[in-house]
Symmetry: D3
Subunit: 287 residues, 6 copies
């Protein structure tokens, strides 16, 4: 982890470095709290990924937790019980249920929106799950493009065990990103732990490595590969796959046509084709 | 199976018992006919699951067939050929095709609607497939939340072999609940048998056990676990996962927000949180 | 492969034979160019499958490449760089970007539409992937119903490596036909090769055989089986599964009802039922 | 209104007569309460329209209120404040908000579902609005096919004035059945009265007549005309228009194709065509 | 109507002239048969509009009927009763209902698809309704962008009177292009005539002129105006409005963004802006 | 308009006053530039409406332009031609078309998103159109709930005349908020002016008043009325109508059920009901 800090990324709870040109590595940086999230964390999380999305100097992103113990243990339950709409105390005490609901809605939406910034980030994001990775960890990783796991990761859709249905995205996205609904229902309803191997077998992650370091290395390597390719091609592929997940085939084909009617005008296509003939590594302009 | 009958559940073709508090076990109870379904069976099936859905004393449901030979052999073809719109005889003989179609539509819709009651049931349903489980067995099990299998189960989407496309839900739901469309097309077009192991590998079921008794025991155990958790959390999770399967991510996140803006006001959240600190098993009010 | 040519199918780039009654075998027949596609090929591809769709003498189709080296190596890059909208030269040189986009759109749409004819073909299509099967090979095979693979097949969603996002259907369809989005993103973003075994494990294909001959034999055997079944049942099943993939469950159930309200009036139902009792192989009228 | 009662329709709160062959006239029959609805009324309302939908002896339906004062004054607020989930008293008093919400949901859904039966009724329904027609009156009339008005009708989407958003269908359907959203928002947000003339100008109703008797006569005449036409054509037209309102054009065209592929096999088509040549009034079989 | 024929448009049943530069006038040219459509007509209709869509020399289209008596009297019932799938005779006589339906589906789809070519045509189409304009006339005009009427036009959704539900697009599109569903249901269910004035009041047409000549002149004038504007702007506006009609607002905004991200790169924007300052009429390159 | 400034609303380009308790009046305050919008204006526009949406002291909003000449003349073309992505000069000059498109997309999305804040504002917004109201004026007013017009307003969807398709929302929303697509296409394709009376006849606005002052007075009066009603009822009605415009009826009914399952627990319902009996004006808690 001797990678250089990425210039211009100053955050309190996230460490952003650049292990290779065009590659950013984001670490959730609150290891003493098992990288748990309270409101300051999720607000910053959104800001980090907005900045990465707009930064032409970044073409691929790796996300992991700082430290050896956890990717993230999820919501900072202690903070949530002390302030915010779940704390139960304070001024909301004598409101009627409709008014309490009105106060809760923007809170949930802000939380969802910050986490969704990673999905909206135009660069591919490879998420390395390791150590404790429960609750919000699953919501977050569902927003990544590729998930990679350390062998000893402890995974769980933990929300049912704290008395609520997961509302930051797991229940909306998980049925769309793995194949077996029987398995999805099992882990979401029971809140039980599942292992890296089970996650691999179910297609939730696509690689398992021996430990966190190996998983981060594999993710970084993948990111480096993606960063060497045409950013028009890579970012268009991410956009069209995300669109395809949410729309029917006819709509997706039409959107693809309109998208590529301009993307095909990039210099990347002749650059890549020439490279195929000359066997030289192509260079692509910033995007 | 010495579980006590569940009070208030009097049905002719279904046996409803309660192996644990808050757990109901429904058995398709027509073993001499391999648990095949004619109209009286599917009408009762719908009624059973409507009652379970509304019963605050039930928090999780196990479904199996009675007897050792079959979960269900599907449609009672003999009955269907003697009466009803597929019988071909009787008064429909000289109607034109549009009028016959008009007569068939409400028949199919009623059948679909009765089976769909299990999907609409607000409590999680764990379906144990065993013995013969063909045709309608697949339509039914597609409406369950979790599918568990005995090792010797004989599974098949059998309808093509009786000259029709499955119309009670398999073709609508199966592509949504397993990952490989290549496999779905294979088994649906060919009507071939597939084994418990194949069902597990494809994610159609999420556990295989040695025999029916072991599978029922595992299902009952899972149901018992779910029944001990917050019903607000468990039932909300089922609702949001089902909604997520049918809607795009943006719609699902919005629905989740509105749903949880009231669910988070339940006593279950503080009860579960307190329990996490006190290490005592929480108790939840009826829902 | 001594199968007789299928009468009435005269194509320059495709060979159509009939290894069994009601079974057609289509071979992409440009082996010296690794079965690569330029415009004449995709126009004919569409025409072949339109004809097969309407031909009552065909009930199941097998698709493979001719020769031992490739299913298809994808787009004929040499031809594309010399003529057509990607060639960069010619009259489009001084148009503004909007006018170039206008010229590209119908080109992409025509290409998409020709390949989609295989998906629209009302008969089941079993695609045998073998040898080199990259780029357009994946777009094409995503339109098949069942995919079968030879063990040594080299598969890749190759488009990113030539500087573009795949636009002939892979990005729209692949997320809908395999379960793991993590894997889909991996192979689509990285353009890396994947093996037949990996394709099987991910559910992209449903069988792997030792070599091309064995894979074609398995596909032909499956096609023969399907061709012996009720065409009303088989073609209805294909239609309803494709519809189910694109629509929510409520819409699919309604469409199924209307579809089957006439399909159930076919003679295939009593023919198949009688056959079940008499143990004689049923015969079905042409459809 | 000396029309004969329609045999087989015995309801406590609704009067069903037959002013012409194949025409049913349903009257909301609680004039002393201004035809207001409590639970017994809406349960019966659903039952009436289910029966009409299935009755081959009925081809068109007219709905009005009994008596001169009101079509309906809407929800029976007095009854609602004494029992049911809005009454505030009783056993729900000490439930948490999530449990109260759980109790309210099936109540709202049952109410919605009963009123929606009129939309689901396969025969065209012509709704005559007259006298007081506020609140639920609008929800109900939005489920009709054609709306006709007496000149002195007092119309209002009244729910905001009793402290709630209309939840029995007005807010879901009104934006889909009139053109001006500016007007829809105005009347729904302000709960103000609007006149028959305004309703006509906005396209909410399509005819205004001098008084209730004239409006009922016009509706009955229209129903008589529809009842003389091919029921396959009329009921298919209703189905396809309702489907078209809810789906995009491509889906609607496909559904239309499948629907008409059997409807065109009816005897109604040759009967109507022959009639066009012979100038004799055609007769159509029951449907 | 002394306009010159448009070079390259040779059709048997349609006359295509060019009254102004960039304006095409298409006339349905079968006046002795009241411009009725049999299969040769609709196949050509599709071909005409495909050609117009691709012709950079055309920027706006006017459609009318030839002769004074009819825009079109709709389906050529005589031809339909003698051949084709509605003729009832011939080889389809002893097929079962499912096989007849299979034969009818491609017939309906081909007919729908040919008429829909006018909607897909990328240039704006102004439809002039005059004389008899019933049945298919409404299906056709629903595919136009703007509808203009002669004062004496006789309009009707006539299909119910020949025993069928309209299946060439009226029932799918009419609810989307006029505001009052009460009116749409009235005219579609009753098949009654409605006048030009009624069509104007309901928003089905947007202008009524004294006679056919005046209506054609007004349409031609509007077409001439549109033809003088930026084709990038005009054709983009048509595309985005059609897209907006079929999709929700979020999807439409996104599609608009992608569309305009290239359209804004056209020379039309600076050309039009410069023109606004110089007060000179701008010239736009062909598109 | 001597209304007091609304405390806490400090904006450079917008004036926010409070003519009545709970009513805010927003004026576009750049009259010397005909209230035209450049980037600083639209960024502030979004901020104003976000603040209004969250402000429990505001229950209804009126929007107008400052000064007598214009609601807004739309985009500040001069500013747009000097800086930003449409300026054509600067650093974007030598980028390829795909990279220019990439730069344009976030620009369009930011602009759309700021204007859409008015639609997302949870309080009803009444828009007063007056004077010049072209181009962006229509995009903005399409996001309001109710539109009111001064008699001399000059309205136009002007974008085609500056060489582009409107991309800030008009083409996505206008077909959904007025009934006649023929009229929508006419005004959007031709960019012609239309009058207040025409806007009223087409349902785009729902009131026309003699001059701006009278229109603002009417809007303020309507806002005052809405502000006196239950905010739970009014804001729920807005939410459900907006949802209903974008979703099918079944989805809308379900969402309504979930929404009202908590809204009905507000104190507003008993307060309003009591008020109906006591004839006293009800008071509602802040929301």
């Amino acid at each position: 982890m001797a990678a250089a800090p990425l210039a211009g990324y100053k955050y309190e709870h996230f460490l952003v470095t650049s292990p290779h040109p065009y590659v950013a590595h984001v670490e959730i940086n609150r290891p003493r709290k098992l990288n748990a999230f309270a409101r300051p964390q999720w607000l910053e999380f959104g800001a980090v990924f907005r900045q990465l999305s707009e930064d032409a100097g970044v073409r691929a992103v790796v996300l992991s937790g700082a430290g050896d113990r956890a990717f993230t243990a999820g919501l900072d339950v202690q903070a949530a019980s002390q302030e915010g709409p779940l704390s139960g105390g304070g001024d909301g005490g004598d409101l009627d249920a409709a008014r309490k609901a009105k106060a809760l809605r923007p809170h949930i939406e802000e939380f969802q929106s910050c986490i969704s910034e990673m999905e909206r980030c135009e660069k591919p994001v490879i998420c390395v799950l390791h150590g404790i990775a429960i609750g919000l960890a699953i919501d977050i990783s569902c927003c990544a493009d590729v998930r990679i796991c350390a062998a000893d990761t402890r995974l769980a859709v933990k929300e049912v065990d704290v008395g609520l249905a997961a509302d930051i995205g797991t229940l909306a996205r998980l049925p769309k990103i793995v194949g077996s609904t029987s398995w999805v229902k099992d882990v979401c309803l029971s809140a039980r732990d599942f292992s890296a191997q089970e996650a691999l077998a179910q297609g939730f992650v696509s690689q398992v490595h021996g430990d966190k370091a190996a998983a981060v290395a594999a993710a970084t390597n993948m990111a480096r590969t993606l960063a060497g390719k045409s950013p028009v091609a890579v970012q268009g592929t991410k956009e069209l796959l995300n669109y395809g997940r949410e729309h029917n085939t006819a709509d997706s084909l039409r959107y693809t046509t309109v998208w590529n009617s301009v993307a095909l005008q990039a210099q990347d296509l002749p650059a890549a084709m020439t490279s195929a003939f000359t066997k030289k590594r192509p260079t692509f302009e910033k995007l």
